[in-house]
Amino acid sequence: MRILSYILLSSLLLAAPQRITAQEISEVPVQETKPETKKAKEKKENGFWSLLEFKGVGVSADIFGCAYSLIGDGISTEIAAEANFGNRLYPTFEAGWAWCNATDENNGIKYRTNAPYYRAGFNYNFLTKKDNPNPKHYIYGLVRIGWTNFKYDVQTPPITDPVWGGEVALDLKDVEGACLWGEVGAGIKVKIVKGFHMGWSVRYKFRFTEKKAENSRMWYIPGYGKNQSTCFGGTYSLIYDIPL
């Protein structure tokens, strides 16, 4: 039921920008270009680096992490900065903060953490072609490497010695955790109004390393999710292209 309500909510959010975009397309003015010499024009058109010409910087905020709390175990929010090279390659840095305050209804175990996380990588836009160097929409692949250092608390109800009797409770505070992971995925970006895009990304995450403590193992990792060797995640972002 939670998943269904989430899908409906996110579908509505995605549908809204589409209508605006359809209106916008006809209104976008064609930019006038300065006359160039033939030699310079040839060089610009044929050179490899011309394909990756610096075109600007964008900043974005993710709202998926908050919505994910409807189906997941924690809440996160993040901002990102990306550089635009030829509308093709977007080196990206993402920084976020995640919260988790979970209690298992069956066994009463409590797990708490809140900590920052970081990701770096790039997007590659597949819709940019030679005959369409400035597409209004983007379908891209992404690669990221993510990392976090954080502390977490674990509280458990007393466990009973099944042979000799007696009880032992575990109350761990500020246990140090760390994780390094990778992400690959794909996403879309749709122009909603001038300078603003909105978009999805879905990511397959795989854990490289995790820090283990003597008495516990991380259960929720900020920026990664539940501590599994692989998992899926996503973002739903509002992006602003800073005019240069």
């Binding site: 998943i3 175990i109 379908i139 466990i159 008495n215």
Partner: protein, 164 residues
């Protein structure tokens, strides 16, 4: 535009499928819930080589923990090893070994208890680490710690040496 919308629809469907499918099972819960201290019997042969030993006569082993007493081996012949449940709360378990109903040796097994939180789903398990052992030596020749970590790995932890 139509093409892009089609691609968006496909991507959304993929997202829904992935979210419904979820991730891998992640951490496997331990199937065992008691970590046993595994004690094995040895003797030294005529060439000075260590070899496994099956105690030929009836052996009775009693464990004392926190004032409570339990018989863990009752009049067993050809005993080669013992698997002993450790206490969660005590830091020294006492083992009373009765040989032939005549000789009694007492072993003191010092250990540190390590409760381990596995995950929300799997709960807490208990491992132990041996901190020291001592014995009375009435019939027992000697003893040694082979592996101090008592967990679910079926490691041999303590060696007891007898004179054949």
């Amino acid at each position: 535009m139509k093409r892009v919308m089609k691609q968006i629809a496909v991507l959304m469907a993929a997202v829904c499928c992935l979210l419904c499918q979820g991730c891998d099972g992640g951490y496997d819960c331990a199937l065992d819930n008691i970590a046993y201290n595994r004690v094995k019997f040895y003797t030294i042969d005529g060439h000075g080589m260590e070899k496994e030993y099956a105690f030929p006569d009836p052996l009775t082993v009693t464990m004392m923990v926190n004032g409570s007493e339990a018989v863990v081996v009752n009049y067993m012949t050809n005993a080669k090893e013992l698997t002993l449940p450790m206490s969660y709360t005590s830091e020294c378990d006492t083992l009373i070994m009765n040989f032939f109903d005549r000789y009694i040796d007492t072993l003191y097994i010092g250990h540190y208890n390590i409760p381990i939180y596995q995950s929300m789903e799997c709960g807490v398990i208990m491992h132990h680490r041996l901190t020291g052992v001592s014995y009375t030596g009435n019939f027992l020749d000697s003893m040694a710690v082979k592996s101090a970590e008592i967990n679910f790995d079926y490691n041999e932890n303590i060696k007891l040496y007898f004179v054949e």
